[in-house]
């Protein structure tokens, strides 16, 4: 129910933003900046870069605001644009032959089903060892709460494929925790 209310609130804000209401943009920024930055972190694994990319994503959202159609959910639309921004960033970095610098972990509340695996630091450290596709689905579905249909629409895969990827990634993550001994990994980052 809360999720539905949140989504309706985002739809209202987005509609007002399209009508030129600056307060609505501020509201969207407040509501989406945190989740967006967490999602972008899965691409760059660096909070500062994720923050810069979130800013770039909001600029692109502004340029593309006419492509949002009410009453469709806002979050898949926003994450799709952000994903595009992140991929463009990674591509230009590859061209410049820069490597990823894993510096820090995002401030992400871990939902109960993942909390059972280990503490937040453990989960995020080991998540970085998963393939990018698995990480993305875990982040979008388990951490940011999108449905598999929405995840599929963002990534360009069938909802069933998203579900399979999430299941496999979660299984691998559990195996990694068992292998590494969750508390040791967590301790290095606490």
């Amino acid at each position: 129910m809360a999720r539905k209310d949140d989504e309706q609130q985002l739809v209202d804000l987005m509609t007002r933003y399209q009508q030129g209401d600056v307060e609505a943009f501020t509201g969207l920024y407040q509501a989406l900046k945190g989740p967006l930055q967490r999602y972008l972190w899965t691409f760059v694994r660096n909070t500062t870069t994720a923050e810069d990319l979130a800013q770039e994503a909001f600029l692109q959202i502004h340029r593309a605001r006419h492509t949002y159609a009410s009453p469709r959910p806002v979050r898949p639309w926003v994450y799709a644009i952000s994903r595009h921004v992140a991929l463009m960033h990674l591509r230009s970095r590859r061209r410049r032959k820069e490597s990823l610098a894993v510096e820090d972990l995002p401030e992400v509340p871990v939902p109960p089903e993942m909390d059972r695996i280990g503490d937040a630091a453990t989960v995020f450290t080991l998540m970085a060892q998963l393939p990018q596709a698995g990480q993305e689905v875990l982040m979008l579905h388990h951490l940011l709460g999108l449905s598999f249909q929405e995840v599929g629409d963002i990534l360009g895969i069938a909802p069933g494929t998203a579900k399979v990827r999430a299941h496999r990634a979660l299984k691998t993550l559990k195996e990694l925790v068992t292998q590494e001994g969750g508390s040791d990994v967590g301790a290095t980052h606490s």
């Binding site: 407040q30 600029l59 159609a69």
Partner: protein, 219 residues
């Protein structure tokens, strides 16, 4: 977690350009715009350039009927292209390729059934000249639809521009083939496969390339 204030630079960029925007029309309506152009080309080609000489030997369901179905298949591809151009409405790659493959199989099936009814001008009768003429005709007839579709794609925000371009190109090519089916007098499968299926693949590739180049330029 408290959210820090909006960075000044971002806020300035937003407030400098905060005029109200009209949301994009729904995908079906934008598809209709592309189809109107396509239908005009269809009518102009049929009225202005005439029909194949052996049209009387082909039953109506096979001549006009299959052309109309092919035109509807083109509408589906154009719709998929315009859906793909909206963020968060990506199409699975397998679905896009299946749609394209289904249209090509349909084109070849219609070509084969038509050949069973009327062989038309034999393949051996100057194949290169007939082939080139069909290729040029297919490409020219597809061009107006391709251009409007690319324009509609570019007006949106495709996150995978090459895919939107490829589907748009395929839609334009299949719409053009629906016209050619009524005009081309060579029914031989070698001609259909080489020049007509070849044209569909070529125009789809051109759409993908335009999309790719535009995507690169934008970023």
């Amino acid at each position: 977690m408290s959210v820090p204030p909006i960075p000044e630079e971002l806020m300035k960029a937003v407030t400098d350009d905060l005029q109200p925007v009209t949301p994009l029309a729904p995908v079906w309506r934008r598809t209709l715009w592309a189809l109107v152009v396509s239908a005009l080309v269809f009518a102009a080609a049929v009225l202005g350039l005439g029909l194949r000489s052996d049209i009387q030997s082909i039953p109506t369901w096979l001549g006009w009927g299959s052309s109309i179905i092919e035109f509807l298949a083109a509408a589906l591809l154009l719709g998929l292209a315009l859906r793909e151009s909206i963020p968060g409405r990506r199409l699975p790659l397998a679905s896009a390729l299946t749609a394209l493959a289904a249209c090509i199989i349909y084109q070849l099936t219609v070509g084969y059934v038509t050949w069973r009814f009327s062989t038309g001008i034999p393949w051996e009768d100057n194949p290169l000249a007939h082939g080139m003429s069909c290729m040029i005709s297919d490409t020219s007839l597809a061009l107006p639809t391709l251009l409007i579709t690319i324009w509609l794609i570019v007006r949106a925000f495709p996150t995978r521009a090459w895919m939107a371009g490829m589907l748009g190109g395929a839609g334009a090519a299949i719409a053009s083939d629906a016209i050619t089916h009524l005009r081309c007098p060579v029914s031989d499968m070698r001609h259909v496969l080489l020049w007509h299926t070849g044209a569909v693949l070529l125009i789809s590739a051109a759409g993908a390339l335009i999309g790719h180049i535009w995507g690169r330029w934008r970023s």
